[in-house]
Amino acid sequence: MSSLVSHISDLVRHRSLIGHLVGKELKVRYRGSVLGFLWTFLNPLMLLGVYALVFSVYMRIQMENYAAFMFSGLLPWIWVHSSLVYGTNAITEGESLVTKVIFPLQVMPTVKVAAALVNYLLGLPILAAFIWLQGIPPSFNLLWLPFVLAAAWLFVWGLALLLSTLNVFLRDTQYIIANLLTLWFFLTPILYPLSQVPERYRWLIKLNPLTLMMGAFQNLFFRRQGPNWPELGLLALVGLAVAGVGMAVFDRYKESFAEMV
């Protein structure tokens, strides 16, 4: 337990380092491209365009304001996806920092998750404007967003810690996770509402923590409701457990990272 506390206090102590690295992460991604930082906004918009075209024109999903529904779940999914993909590689790709500099290693996966979160937050105005255009004005329930984000953060961050550790010892992790994420995406009600899933499989879908997470985002943005507290509470509990395990595993193995990367 005390090691978990020191893990977190270490992160707090290095917040300026994290802030700087997140800034670097965001700036470097599109550096050198003509549109540069604009891509932060263009990428989700284009993805939205693709899915909107496929699912509301070609394979019609019977749902009012489908694009608004999809976008409110797709944007947080992008956060989860890039957190886990980049997070998995955080230690292995940062070889020079791991082996050549005295450096707080837990900062590395944390930066990946935080940078993806900042990307999500930057996309929020676009999301809000888009949903509004579809005829769903923003509501005061959006003020609950920090709670949803906090619960979701625990889950995603814990998983990123776990995966980054695993990938140091088993390089196959990065490829496995890329494929699993595709599966996970389609198993989570993002492109389709939960009500479209046949009744007898619904319990299965509900076992998926991402169903809880995406449901919470959809509640705020699409349904204009406050959080479903029992569900959000459950997500927070799962998140705490995953984060606890993630920190414990990371701290247990971080001392051998320098020899393994």
Partner: protein, 411 residues
């Protein structure tokens, strides 16, 4: 010296340090999923023989304000020891106690991002090394000045030359104001001018009472800067003591190792004929063999030879030569009896020829001696490269090779 060190406060105290590495081979070095699935027990079964014992229980101390040189051949564990002291590697067993803020210069610019400008990288790298943004802002100009990069500071570092890259890295790193500094070979890079600046900075650190551990293959540098030298070999400490002494022992060891390898002998000594070199000695004014001199002292090189009585002698077509070189091969001084206008008439079957230098006007450093017996037009009977060496040492700092007696006149 030893007693004094025990009383002083230790900045670094390493005891009974053991470090094993798992031997990594290309195939299956990193666990792959396949190997885990197919043979889950294999990794454990082979654990024993696959361990590499890099450090085998050594003690290492550095007192506050002391500068310690760490020498040894490649793979002797110097860098591993440094990384354990820095906290990058974890010791397999043993104690490591560090008292003071520590900074390690292991690879300069390891945190740089090529797409970012020098300016952005100074902030990023500075923060990685533990400075606050305000610290960096306050030192920014000094960092840029020291790195001599004022004109390029806003260009991306991928456009920098490797020298510029290293200068920037060193400049940020030394500005982190550590109490203990671990340096791994980083001064070997950069041009002569920058190297001199680095050395000046190290001297400044020493004066400020910082504890420094320097890993280097440049034995001259180690001897010039360090208060104490530790020779690491085969995972244990081979020698620990005053620089001149340890380095001489180390050099002798290296020479004996290299001498044992047949390929080296041929390249070190060549020529054939009726007369051979049989020994070389460097002696002081009293005729005593010595290997350390002060600038301005007299020195003599004593060359012993022997003639093969069965072969016709070389007659008068004969000269003895001596050359003085630096480790990098620079010729400092070279002469022979023929050049100096001497003709050798009758030579006893064996004996000694002596070259007397009235004053040794050389700067601090290590010098090698070549000796040769050859015909007057240079065909060698016996040419012996780096047959001996000696060190010039003084309390003053000196640059270059030549150090004549000199005075200043001030207004």
């Amino acid at each position: 010296m030893d007693g004094a060190r025990a009383i002083e406060k230790l900045a670094i105290d390493v005891r009974d340090l053991v470090k094993d590495f798992r031997r990594v081979n290309i195939k299956g070095g990193f666990t792959s999923l396949k190997s885990v699935l197919l043979n889950p027990l294999a990794a454990h079964r082979h654990e024993g023989p696959r361990l590499l014992h890099v450090l085998k229980g050594l003690d290492f101390q550095a007192a506050q304000g002391e500068m310690v040189g760490l020498i040894g051949r490649n793979g002797s564990g110097k860098s591993t020891l440094l990384k354990i002291m820095a906290g990058i590697y974890k010791a397999t067993s043993g104690q490591v106690k560090i008292s003071g803020r520590l900074s390690a210069l292991i690879e300069l610019g390891a945190g740089f991002h090529p797409e970012f400008s020098g300016r952005e990288n100074i902030f990023l790298y500075g923060i990685i090394l533990g400075l606050s943004k305000e610290d960096i802002r306050a030192r920014f100009d000094a960092i840029v000045d020291f790195a001599e990069l004022a004109d390029y500071i806003d260009s991306p570092v991928r456009t920098y030359s490797s020298g510029m890259y290293v200068r920037l890295g060193f400049s940020v790193a030394v500005n982190t104001d550590p109490e203990i500094l671990l340096i791994d070979e980083v001064m070997a890079v950069g041009d002569a001018g920058f190297k001199r600046k680095c050395e000046a900075k190290i001297t400044e650190f020493k004066k400020a009472g910082k504890t420094i551990v320097l890993v280097s293959h440049d034995l001259d540098e180690v001897e010039r800067f360090c208060d104490r030298v530790v020779w690491l070999g085969q995972g244990v400490i081979q020698a620990d003591g005053p620089p001149g002494e340890v380095i001489r022992t180390y050099r002798d060891f290296i020479a004996s190792q290299d001498g044992a390898a047949p390929a080296q002998v041929g390249s070190d000594r060549w020529g054939e004929g009726p007369i051979r070199l049989s020994g070389l000695e460097v002696v002081d004014r009293d005729g005593q063999p010595r290997s350390t001199f002060r600038p301005g002292e007299p020195l003599a090189v004593r060359i012993a030879y022997s003639q093969d009585q069965d072969q016709p002698g070389p007659g008068r077509d004969l000269a003895f030569g001596v050359a003085l070189t630096k480790a990098d091969g620079t010729l400092v001084f070279g002469t022979n009896t023929h050049l100096d206008g001497l003709t050798i008439e009758a030579l006893p079957g064996s004996g000694k020829v002596e070259l007397n230098l009235e004053r040794l006007d050389l700067a601090n450093g290590l010098y090698y001696l070549d000796a040769a017996i050859h015909t007057r037009d240079g065909k060698p009977f016996d040419y012996w490269t780096k047959a001996s060496s000696f060190t010039v040492r003084s309390d003053l700092e000196q640059d270059g090779v030549y150090y004549p007696p000199h005075t200043w006149t001030l207004p």
